[in-house]
């Protein structure tokens, strides 16, 4: 849409290869269809369930037991997604961007072949190309995986309640899905090969895991599935999972209605003819290395989004990179995408917002003696009356002692973590220091105010257990 603004003739080729179970979706990419959007809506569904429980202590009289209907939720979510898909179709049309629901692959340096779902082929040529093909969930490569397991590609439009679910993986996809499924009242087990949330601050990752475990989600650690068999067909059916320990020869078996695989995502770069145009990819990961202007090794081919090597896999990053790229190419702009201090949020039952360095990365980059970690537990006021966990929510900032105690890492575990983090990310972009944080007056009574009164350092070892306001 950005390029069309500058009167360029633009075409979009979007095609979704159906999952092994046949799931597919419309225009909009992963975020809209099988990622952020349905995830957040289902997370919200789970939070509302919790809110209904809490409401009793606030005086609401719920006369019946509150139950959840999977189909009602899924229908509403898919309806919303459908309106987004349609909105994009109208927007592209209005901006005169040509759109084809066809699988694009390079057949020459400036030529792409587009194959639609009926197999009809068309050829298109262009001056420049932008690859944003994203990723798809990885399968385990074990017997029964493609036949019987589902992935996040299937979950958000599943036409039946998944029932008792085994989630395989420890990524944010795995934990977020496990989280809302349990929040909707399902029996959920998470099978983890090694650590939780690889790449994230491990202190925070472990707190997230502990919270989930304390709220009825079972964790099977240091096991990987080796076989999935069907005991009974159905919607859902019954599956038997055999898993092997990662240290030792112990095997275990379990029975579940649904097995959700969330062990990673692979870039869709191997079957789009990149060899025909000469674009280099990382053979091992499939990711495309680009320079700081999103240009591949082939000057007229660019790439954005999850397929980029060593870049954050986040929707807003891809959108920003794409817009700035087009502005540089066609509007004489010079601004490049800033990949530093990009805030993120993990929507697990206890949400986690972060911006900047994890504790481990900060210690490695600056040296442990050169950073100061301030932290505290906090108890959201809204949790007091219903008697929900004290000393589970947590706030942490990491400061660079060699640079005016510049805040280089921001971490919050608690409700509305994303809303809290957004503002602090902007402050960090302005060079926020601990002193500025301390001289900012807090808003009371809100969770975020804790960041204006952090005094206890990890180094001191002092207690951060809370009693109340």
């Amino acid at each position: 849409q950005e390029a069309a603004k500058y009167n360029k003739k633009v075409m979009v080729l979007d095609f979704v290869k159906p999952t092994p179970l046949g799931s597919s979706w419309g225009l909009g990419g992963t975020c809209v269809n099988v990622g952020c959007i349905p995830k957040k809506l289902m997370h919200q569904a789970a939070l509302l369930g919790q809110a209904l429980e809490d409401s009793r202590k606030f005086g609401w009289q719920l006369t019946e037991e509150v139950k959840h209907n999977w189909l009602t939720m899924t229908e509403s979510v898919q309806n919303y997604i459908g309106s987004l898909n349609w909105g994009y179709r109208v927007a592209l049309r209005e901006k005169s961007v040509a759109y084809e629901n066809a699988y694009g692959e390079f057949v020459g340096p400036h030529t792409v072949k587009a194959t639609n779902k009926r197999g009809a082929e068309k050829l298109y040529t262009a001056e420049r190309f932008l690859i944003a093909t994203g990723e798809r969930p990885r399968y385990l490569g074990i017997p029964g995986d493609k036949e019987y397991c589902i992935s996040s590609d299937d979950l958000f439009s599943l036409p039946y309640c998944p029932g008792k679910t085994l989630v395989v993986g420890a990524s944010y996809v795995a934990l977020e899905c496990a989280g809302f499924l349990a929040g909707l009242g399902l029996d959920v087990t998470v099978m983890v090969r090694s650590i939780l949330l690889r790449g994230f601050d491990q202190d925070m990752a472990n707190k997230i895991g502990d919270y989930m475990e304390g709220h009825g989600i079972s964790f099977i650690r240091q096991f990987v599935p080796i076989k999935v068999e069907q005991i009974e067909e159905g919607t859902p059916g019954r599956l038997k999972v055999t898993a092997k320990s990662t240290n030792g020869s112990e095997t275990i078996e379990g029975e579940y209605n649904t097995v959700l695989l969330a062990i990673g995502r692979d870039a869709c770069t191997r079957t789009i003819g990149l060899d025909k145009v000469g674009v280099k990819i990382n053979e091992k990961t499939g990711k495309i290395p680009v320079n700081d202007e999103e240009q591949t090794n082939v000057p007229h081919v660019y790439a954005i989004g999850d397929i980029l090597e060593d870049k954050l896999e986040l929707t807003p990053v891809a959108i920003q990179a794409g817009r700035l790229l087009v502005q540089r190419l066609y509007a004489g702009a010079t601004r490049k995408c800033d990949y530093v201090n990009v805030p993120t949020t993990v929507f697990t039952p206890l949400e986690y917002g972060a911006c900047g360095y994890s504790e481990e990365a900060a210690a490695e980059t600056f040296g442990e003696e050169n950073i100061e970690v301030y932290h505290s537990n906090f108890w959201p006021l809204e949790w007091t009356v219903p008697g929900r966990d004290n000393n589970k929510c947590y706030a942490k900032v990491i400061c660079n002692l060699q640079d005016n105690e510049r805040v280089i890492g921001f971490h919050v575990l608690g409700p509305n973590a994303g809303e809290i983090t957004q503002g602090f990310a902007a402050a960090m972009k302005c060079g926020l220091t601990k002193e500025q944080l301390d001289t900012t007056i807090g808003i009371h009574p809100v969770c975020a105010e804790i960041f204006t009164t952090l005094t206890v350092t990890k180094r001191s070892g002092a207690s951060i257990l809370q009693a109340g306001c």
Partner: protein
């Protein structure tokens, strides 16, 4: 097989008619009432109708085209009218594919290529 057209007036008649065609693709054009001379109180509806009619042959085989008069201007302006409340319509003319989130509202209905896209989209 072609397609069929049904003209209805008011919410109840619309719902009954749409339900009777359950199973077939249903496209609906909602317009303001027409006076004795056949002219609608809604000028945008007057403009959109010929554009939509010209594209009807693009509807899939077996489709039903429902031409629905919503009521007079005061009825339409009432924020609690059944079309606004139950179908979430925000303006007339509205052209939609019944049972899906696909719709075109007001000036979008003047654009032949958008209308065609609505009729031919999977």
């Amino acid at each position: 097989m072609g397609w069929d057209e049904k003209q209805v007036r008011g919410y109840s008649e619309f719902v009954r008619t749409a339900q009777s065609y359950h199973g077939r693709p249903i496209f609906v054009l909602f317009c303001g009432d027409k006076d004795a001379d056949g002219v609608s109180w809604c000028p945008d509806c007057v403009k959109a109708e010929p554009v939509v009619r010209k594209e009807l042959h693009n509807m899939p085989d077996g489709s039903v085209f429902i031409y629905c008069l919503v009521g007079d201007r005061p009825y339409w302006k009432d924020p609690n009218n059944e079309f606004r409340k139950n179908l979430k319509l925000t303006g007339v003319p509205t052209l939609l594919k019944y049972g899906t989130p696909q719709k075109l509202v007001e000036e979008e209905c003047f654009k032949a290529d958008l209308v065609r896209m609505l009729f031919t989209e999977d």
